[in-house]
């Protein structure tokens, strides 16, 4: 049993498949959520999948450098900036429209 497990350590393919599935779950959330904050949370899942991808490539392909980890740090920083701006926009939006439902956000559409 232990021998079987030791011979089946996760390879790069396992990690990439995991990240692809995670990304697709986030994509599903973006497409089906109606609340804008729910969409933001789904986008965070997608960003996290991308960051894990970078670190996995770093670990399996270039272990003597830290380039992939630095890319992941940049992704995390950009996600933080994005979350700050998104929260400000949602609060302003709620103040004007009373809702953050993205189906209601159609003021650019010609009503007549």
């Amino acid at each position: 049993m232990i021998e079987f497990l030791a011979n089946h350590t996760p390879t790069l393919t396992h990690w990439l498949v995991l990240c692809a599935l995670l990304f697709c779950i986030g994509l599903y959330g973006v497409l089906t959520r109606r609340n804008a904050i729910g969409i933001l949370m789904s986008i965070e899942i997608m960003l996290d999948a991308g960051a894990i991808n970078f670190v996995a490539f770093n670990y399996f392909n270039a272990r003597d450098t830290v380039d992939g980890q630095i890319m992941a740090i940049f992704i995390i920083a950009v996600a933080a900036a994005e979350a700050v701006i998104a929260m400000a926009i949602f609060v302003a939006l709620y103040r004007y429209r009373g809702t953050v439902d993205v189906n209601e956000m159609d003021s650019l559409r010609d009503e007549s």
């Binding site: 350590t9 393919t13 498949v17 990304f23 949370m41 965070e44 830290v66 980890q69 630095i70």
Partner: protein, 203 residues
Amino acid sequence: MMTEAAQTVVFYILAASVLGLSIAVVRVRRLLRAAVALMVMLTASAALYVLLGAEFLAGVQVLVYVGGIVVLIVFAIMLTRSSDLLEDVPSNLRRLMGVCVSSGFALIACGIVLTSHFPLSPSAVAPEDDSRAIGKALLDYGPNGYVLPFEIISLLLLAAAVGAIVIARRTPPSAQPFTSGGDLPPEAPHVISLSQRDKRQER
């Protein structure tokens, strides 16, 4: 050998929990519960980083994501009162289209990953100290350094902070530069009325 076996077991446990929790994030109707699931899912992915030998990154993930972004999301949920109202269930057509698009993308991505061959170089030795190597690379001026992106990211964070304040500000001064004399909605003035102000002073 025990280490490899433990690594395999931990990887599958963490992968299953991350996938399940992220499904909970996109499916749960109450947004606050989704935020809590997101928090646990990000912690589990920090554990995945540890499994990949990136301890510093795991710490950053817990600090920034779990401690910062999720708290910000919870703030946004509270401020927009999204927790009071149940999010209405997406229509069946919408759900079907979401499943089609995301499973199609998953099929294509997994097919590409499984059929392509990645040249591996597992013989390389990882740097002794993770955080030291990251710090050196971030402040390196050389061709492999990241000092320019590092500075740009700090500028981006500053711009994001200032922009968030400008966007979410409640009562802009009328003579504020770069705004058109206040952007309050005309029918809902957010100035505290005189009577309320008096009550507040009495308290």
